[in-house]
């Protein structure tokens, strides 16, 4: 027995149609968040608070782009895992490097008169 003919569009087709407006709305949201970031840096609040707000706002922008514009929301979870492996490794490397070089012992020593001038390297 054949399936009854239907003129109604499939759910997939409706999704494709609605994606247009999703993209436009997200782009507007991203523009607004960028404006907010710009305003944030001029606010007279403590540094750590401004830093946290900026990190959160840029993370929100980042997530919107990867999950909507880059289709991770609709793609198989494997793509998300694959990308997040690189992202987590990169973030962990950044965190480790900043921790190591942020330590007091990592600060460069001040130049003294006994130090050889930089020109030595050019002559050699």
């Amino acid at each position: 027995m054949s399936a009854p003919a239907s003129t109604a569009p499939s759910p997939g087709h409706e999704l494709e149609q609605s994606k247009f407006w999703i993209y436009v709305q997200i782009a507007m949201l991203l523009a607004v968040i960028t404006g907010l970031e710009l305003v944030t840096v001029y606010l007279p609040f403590v540094r750590w608070l401004l830093f946290s707000v900026l990190v959160v706002l840029s993370t929100v922008k980042f997530m919107f782009v990867i999950f909507y514009f880059m289709h991770l929301r609709w793609d198989r979870v494997f793509c998300t895992i694959l990308f997040f492996i690189g992202l987590v490794l990169a973030s962990a490397t950044m965190w480790a490097l900043l921790k190591i070089f942020g330590a007091e012992a990592s600060k460069p020593l001040p130049m003294t008169f006994g130090d050889p001038p930089a020109m030595v390297f050019r002559i050699v």
């Binding site: 840096v41 001029y42 830093f51 980042f62 990867i66 793609d75 494997f78 990308f83 942020g102 460069p108």
Partner: protein, 206 residues
Amino acid sequence: MSSDAAAGTIDHHFDPTTTTGIPNKKVLMWAFLASDCMFFGCLISTHLIYRLHPPPGTLPAKEVFSIELTSFSTFILLMSSLMMALAVNAIQKGNLKSMRWSLLTTIFFGCIFLGCQVYEFRNFVYEKHLTITNSILGSTFFTLTGTHGLHVLVGVIWLSGMLAYSFTGRLTEKQAIDVESMGLYWHFVDIVWIVIFTAVYLLEYI
């Protein structure tokens, strides 16, 4: 528009011919982008580390940067991402004409971004006397943003090539994965700029 696309019978998120169910080109692109995350992560870390301990006599970055210009560039790149997403959406529906206009706008926005970057670099070198060799700030800044700019340039060339290819008549909704892979690359360039905008520019102002 072809009958397949009009009926919505092509599922662009699933490929039954591969073991993962994902088109191989898409897996390849995601793997490449994951590795590129590491690359940019190292460049951004290097810049931030040197900004933590600036050597004496370093020019304050706030006096060098123009936040208005950079914000405009960011806005332009975000809008280019929107146009790229619309281009992918159009080709997935088999709407070649709409895809061409969206690609053309994306290329236009990409060129504006590159123009802003060239203007910014020129301003830094000739007005602010900040070059890639005369300070650590210059070295790390130009290396990071220059590498990103190079990625944008590659993206613009790729987009232009795809636009030209669409006129040969061989680009249909069945090859939508080629446009989608290119789109992934373009959006990646955008997300890297989102991080650079915050880490390199905005953090200097707080």
